[in-house]
Symmetry: D2
């Protein structure tokens, strides 16, 4: 058994949501073990949060700068090997860049940065430092998403013609940010979230899963990014028409005001000879139809699935696996890359800094194009 990667977490303290998920995901397979933290932007709270989690008192730091400095001084076999960044979007770029420069691997939440330039800086720094940089587009860790990718890439449904991807939630249907709800507050604040609201948060996942499965490049988009809830200064509902290189068409929808949706991420891909559809809320199934009229459901754990799907599976079919397991697959892959010393996302099953940068460019293009008709994307 390989020893787990030692990591320090930035963000994810008291009151935060996603930090705890990252920690469970890291722990499920013993992929990584938490050894240090700078868990809040408020030093006192950061330190207290670390003690809550059982960190050594001298490794629960008040700031991420302190953590990078403090850990760098520890003996190599003891010091953290990787930082995990789970702060608001505007606090991704600086610690990620500093961590890379200080020789640490990075696991960073999505969207990777607010601006295209920041994203490019991280791409360059990753290449320069040779560190591993994983962006936690966690939905790509689901076995049946891996299966979908494998089938599309191996031609099982022919050349792609049409893609629908939608990610719908309802939690921002009211101005929750005005009630002091921490998540709502920063996600609806463009200075912390970046240009995209719903688009940056969940639209980013939608873009990623679409690209991950299909491999298609978006050439042009036409979008409508709207703040539906009065007084909001960022989109909470966005729809995008897509034209891909090669002629396929797509529709991407991201909304956080669709009452009744919890976490409705759905991908549907239509090819010349077949189609695939997958729903995140029922993640163990992949529906496959063929031109001949067959309508089949593949299940995680079935025999005959692709190697990547098999490797991402812990339990036999019928014993459902879900969100944490998919998230843990990202950590497992990133840890394996760190052990191997190679930043090779596809091979290890995580999304790289390049994927993260493409995601940032996409968000900014969609928001920029809103209401302006067709726009050509930079590549």
């Amino acid at each position: 058994m390989t020893a787990p990667i030692r990591y320090g977490m930035i963000g994810g303290g008291r009151d935060a949501f996603i930090g705890g998920v990252h920690r469970m995901a890291a722990r499920l397979d013993n992929s990584m073990t938490l050894v240090a933290g700078a868990l809040s932007s408020t030093p006192e709270k950061a330190i207290a949060s670390g003690l809550d989690l059982g960190l050594d008192a001298n490794r629960s730091y008040g700031t991420w700068q302190d953590m990078l400095a403090g850990e760098a001084k520890r003996p190599e076999l003891d010091r953290m090997q990787c930082v995990v960044i789970v702060t608001p979007n505007n606090v991704h770029h600086a610690p990620a860049l500093a961590a890379l420069e200080a020789g640490f691997h990075v696991v960073c939440d999505k969207p990777m940065t607010c601006t295209n330039d920041e994203a490019q800086e991280l791409v360059d720094a990753t290449h320069r430092t040779g560190r591993v940089f994983a962006v936690t587009y966690n939905y790509t860790g689901y076995p049946m998403v891996l299966q979908a990718r494998d089938m599309v890439r191996s031609g099982a449904i022919g050349a792609i013609r049409k893609v629908f991807v939608e990610y719908l939630q309802g939690w921002l249907a009211t101005p929750l940010e005005d009630d002091g709800q921490k998540q709502a507050h920063w996600r609806t604040d463009p200075t912390r979230a970046g240009a995209g609201g719903a688009m940056g948060d969940i639209g980013s996942h939608a873009e990623n899963i679409m690209s991950f499965v299909t491999g298609l490049d978006v050439e042009q988009c036409c979008s409508d990014a709207t703040a539906i809830v009065a007084g909001r200064s960022i989109d909470d509902d966005t729809a995008v028409l897509l034209r891909f290189a090669g002629g396929a068409r797509g529709v991407l929808s991201a909304s956080q005001v669709c009452v009744g949706h919890r976490n409705g991420l759905t991908l549907r891909v239509y090819g010349e000879t077949g189609s695939l559809s997958w729903r995140q809320e029922c993640p163990g199934q992949l529906h496959v139809c063929t031109l001949e009229g067959h309508d089949t459901t593949l299940h995680r754990g079935d025999s005959g699935l692709c190697e990547a799907a098999v490797n991402a599976t812990r339990l036999p079919g019928g014993h459902p696996e879900a969100f944490i397991e998919a998230f843990a697959n990202i950590y497992r892959g990133a840890a394996a890359a760190m052990h191997a010393g190679r930043d090779d996302g596809a091979g290890f099953g995580y999304q790289t800094v390049a994927d993260g940068a493409r995601g940032v460019r996409f968000i900014n293009a969609v928001i920029g194009a809103s209401g302006r008709g067709w726009t050509t994307l930079e590549t």
Copy 2:
């Protein structure tokens, strides 16, 4: 028991599909009875088709012009009262106009005409002649669509914010028109189908059900109408972003190249305080969610449904009703209007000539806007 309305059918002969459905729909409740026909554009085939159906030999006409003339000469209590037009789209306007002018009521398939001008001519002629004009947007006959409309109109989900409507099929994923398939042939031929392919055929239903349920007016649209299958000269895949009066947003998708879909019409409406969703392939259910988090399924036949839904229901819950029954509801409503001598669609549960004209304008606007960015609709 009221006597059934006597009708003559134009189109719907041997090899046609939809004519037989209209006849079953008319017959199910004895709403209308077939007494005459001009069932094909080829006189010999028209006459033979009428004999197949058991028409009197002297009422199976070679042309619709002959039928209008022949029936006009019969005694009032015997002659047809209504024409039912189930021909390709380019043969709707002329017989409909002539039938109105000759004093007959009209039941006409959708889209009502190819051009906006033709549509307006029928609106004017209907008003001038005082005849009943029903357009067979048959999906509005489903009880749970009526229930959805009633709930939206009575404020059950608050002000509408977002609408998704999609109508996906896969039957034109191959160039079926090249194999002489009759339906495929005319529907992919702009001289017979009009400007819209998938948009005209099924996009038209999508627009109608959206408008019927929500009552929203489309102000602007931005669309991408594409011929995916090589060599096709009309769209087989169209996506449209919508902006409604009042600020709501929408996405309409219509495609006939989405392999795996049979007749995938789905409507989802999101309001300030709740949401509704309905799927044509499972028509007896309506899903309702509320801001408080309730997720409820209403079933046709439940107690507490609106009067229109109750009246459109023949069987108790759990004894499914489907396509033909919904279609029969349109016939029942149109027949009731003819008996009453009033052309009042909403009250009788059918779509009027005005609804038909709005549908034609929408198709033409969407096709016209394709690839050109945002376009304001004529009203």
Copy 3:
């Protein structure tokens, strides 16, 4: 086009439910046409009901005896050819027997009779008179039930090992019969319903669909027939363990106190190499699994379905057909048999007097065995 069979209906007048369904089923395809009626056990109501339906005044009879006598006197080309019996169970045997003896064909609701002896009398009379006798086990008219039968009979799932059939409703969860609800009143009265309550009404359908699809003979049963609602003198909830000739096992459940179920008829059949499942409330799909792990959904209208399923289908896939259409298939088959002058249920797609008799024996065996352990069935 063949002329429709002329029928007279016994029962099905004002306030009745199922009579109207029979009439729609007969009319949908013009299989049969109503020419006479004795529509209620109260002569005045019987006559008034006939006039409601537009019957000729002299063919709306006060009693079924009058109808048989009156119709027998009419000219052959005008008189009714068939009686349709939709009365409570205790009024099936006498009119059916008299109708056969008078030379009429019979369509009779299920269960065919209350006692095994009565059932046998009808079997004998049918054979003696050479008339057609159809029992309206309407669920066998669904195309996907026909497909299931064809697949099982042709070995698609191997030798059958296990069958689950359940038919659950909730409408008798309260003592509705005490409130004067007509249906509840006679169905919970053993003098009119026969020995079986839930078992006789819906358990009878469960037995029939199970036998129709599998062809298995029940050898032994062990049952628990219970009156759950206090004061009821007939079962409203029954469960049965089954042992079939050849060693397969089964479980049949019929209950009318299962709150939340509308008309929950479900059949699941497990063979050596595959399995099938079908739900009445979603009748256009048949789920098929194989030993190799394939999980497939067949849809009504798919290419490759068996001939019987194809013949029972009116609309393309995705345009749902439902209860009335399935019921109409029974009428279409029975009418075809009457035209042909042969009482050959399987060939024409209806259930015969022999199927009806088997059903009666099954009900009586289950009720007789309740609480007594294993019982061997008479064959």
Copy 4:
């Protein structure tokens, strides 16, 4: 943060399946940490398996007897506190009894023992020693099962009338045991599995979840336990009719030859005023119907769920949790009880030795009653 409970595992070495699941479940929340093991019945394999898992060489024992002895000698703050038993059923009783006697807590897989006497011995020993004894009926760890229990117990559906519980799998549809498949081999061998095959393995879970949710006592049963696959000496398909104290009725089905089922555990409970249904393969939803006709879906993470369900939940709605999380809830509860030093299953969310004993008696009653009609259960 409380320190995790230190445990030693018996069974669960190389080639085993369920041991790894227990370890993930223990680790997910840091509830327990593996410090010792006797991971196989073959000492060499046991020791090698421990090294695979990273155990200290001197704590990877060859036999469970060695482990109990070795750990007892270690300092209190270092030695294991609990044994986790994941061996075949016939190797539960001896190590569990010895562990209790040696002062260790026990987590034991189900069914707890092969015989009723052995089960009673463990009940007595648990009471005598004051240790915590948890039986890993893991399905009771699902939040929506806890919600179902709470609703039933608080009267949300009124007095229970009918229960259906079924647990269907297909993996033993062929004589897999003849191919040397380890799991199949011992589970179809009565000397290792006990009297029940499908009944002991999955029927045991079915009984437990039914009892856990409803609280009903089974008074009488009537069963049919069959070896469907030729040559098998233990049931692979069992159906049971149940009569509960108070008059409710039930049907329990357990089969491992139902091709197409992966892990099909379903519970449906019908009361006087409502009903509940839950499916293990879609564990985050609970369907609730009422007498008034409401059909509602509750989702894990919804506001308004019971405290036990909320406490068993890690992620917001729409972010699915599944099998491992439910299993981890059992470990979390058992660890809390060990910290508290009280063996109070209900309060801590695990099933106790008394539940385990009831389960063993039920299995043996069902198998004993097979084919013999109604049998009264010992209590």
